[in-house]
């Protein structure tokens, strides 16, 4: 454990370099640069609001805020896991040449997406002000879902990055899986509008939805769902633990397959 920690300290500069690289390169050569982190969720929010408020016939004042909260959290989970999944294989050239703790690659992929996610929350503040959603003391709860979703992304990312070394088609399978998670996250509809009471159990199983739901509670000023918080926190810790063990057990074999 001590050796592990010393190694982490030695390579912590690498972690910040890799994270910085991901963020920098994402917006390099684009005219608006980092502003895209704000613009992109806003544009999708506008589209989703237009489509779904018409479709469901309810355009409440705060619906854009509702959509944006869900979309931002889900997009973070989706992008972070997708990039983590590729991370080990995309750094194949380096892994073959220089010894580096290999978990740095999925970890930096998740962290760089987390940083852009946190920046994009500025867009949420803007929309909340325009749509007159006032902050309350409940807002302080937001740290819980924001932390839990990071754990969920990291755990999934570690498992995916290690498994993707051996199975290249995992990327497509995971694409389908994230789509299912998206529909089970109630991003652009309200659960009670679409699903009958007997079918809502699906949502209680989805830890990403638990984070979205709790984050919405914090933003709109109501207490968190305690069961959902405990469940998603347990999932985050469990996935991260499984991810660490799975990654650790397999990392020495990576070099033979990449």
């Amino acid at each position: 454990m001590k050796r592990f920690w010393n190694n982490f300290v030695k390579y912590r500069f690498l972690l910040s370099q890799l994270t910085e690289k991901d963020i920098k390169l994402k917006y390099r050569n684009s005219y608006l640069g980092i502003i895209w982190t704000l613009l992109e969720p806003l544009l999708t929010m506008i589209v989703l609001t237009l489509v779904f408020s018409r479709l469901l016939g309810k355009d409440t004042q705060d619906f854009p805020v509702y959509i944006l909260t869900g979309r931002l959290i889900f997009a973070f989970y989706q992008n972070a896991t997708k990039q983590a999944l590729r991370s080990v294989r995309s750094h194949a050239a380096m892994i073959k040449k220089v010894y580096v703790p290999k978990y740095m690659y999925p970890l930096s992929a998740v962290l760089s997406n987390y940083v852009t996610f946190l920046i994009s929350l500025v867009a949420l503040v803007g929309v909340a002000v325009v749509r007159n959603v006032r902050p309350t003391l409940w807002l302080f709860q937001a740290f819980a879902p924001l932390l839990i979703i990071l754990g969920l992304a990291l755990g999934s990312g570690l498992i995916l990055s290690a498994a993707a070394v051996f199975f290249r088609d995992l990327e497509y399978l995971w694409g389908v899986a994230t789509m299912i998670i998206m529909y089970a996250s109630a991003i652009f509809y309200r659960v009670e509008d679409v699903f009958s009471e007997s079918n809502r159990w699906i949502f209680t199983l989805n830890p990403v939805y638990a984070c979205i739901d709790n984050f919405r509670s914090a933003v709109f000023g109501s207490p968190m769902n305690l069961n959902a918080t405990i469940y998603s926190a347990a999932m985050a810790v469990g996935l991260t633990l499984i991810g660490c063990i799975f990654f650790y057990r397999n990392q020495d074999k990576f070099i033979l397959h990449i």
Binding site: K21, R28, A93, M94, K96, D169, I255, L256
Partner: protein, 246 residues
Amino acid sequence: MADTSLIVNNVSVRYRLTEEKVDNLKEYVIKLVKRDLRYKDFLALDDVSFELKKGDRLAVMGKNGAGKSTLMKVVAGVLKPSSGNVTCCGNVAPLLELGAGFDMQYSGAENIWLYGAMLGYSKAFIKSRYDEIVEFADLGAFINSPVKNYSSGMRARLGFALATVVEPDILILDEVLSVGDAAFKKKSEQKIMSMFDKGTTVLFVSHSETQVKNLCTKGILLDHGKIVFSGTAKETAEEYSKINGK
């Protein structure tokens, strides 16, 4: 012992791979169901042991596929041996395929930070040596353009400058003494020679007998993952030419 620099102790590397390369889930499941997953064992290194003292310069010779590069990867810590162990006293600088780890989108300057971090340098260290690296690589204005626009020689120069800015205790040279144009070649050779003088332990992979005779003190000859000969550099070079002569 205080002056021991590198101990390679009964190192074996065994690959266990599927006979046909299966790298996706679909094929894996199909083959699993059809019970068609055959594995074959491949011994890349077979019980290799040697010990180097500080300042020793070891030539590693052998035919293609004899396990030279595998041995270098094990010493560099990139590949974990299936059995046995490697003990290095001090830091290892691998000069393998210079610049292979660069990020193509990043500029040369940015890559100095990234690649430096990858080699385990600290931020303060890179900061203090930054000018030295830039000067040695001698890329002029190119230092600020993306590495994808570099020629392979320029890439190698930057890689060489980065890998050698640290004073390594163990240096791994995998046929890289021919980097860049004539002027840079001279410069890099001088740099390596100055490291030799400082008593750096060197592992040198080469096919050139003259280079081995000139640069190294000891030698081992690998064949099919085994050490078939070990002795002085001169003896090893002669043994190597004997094998090839046959």
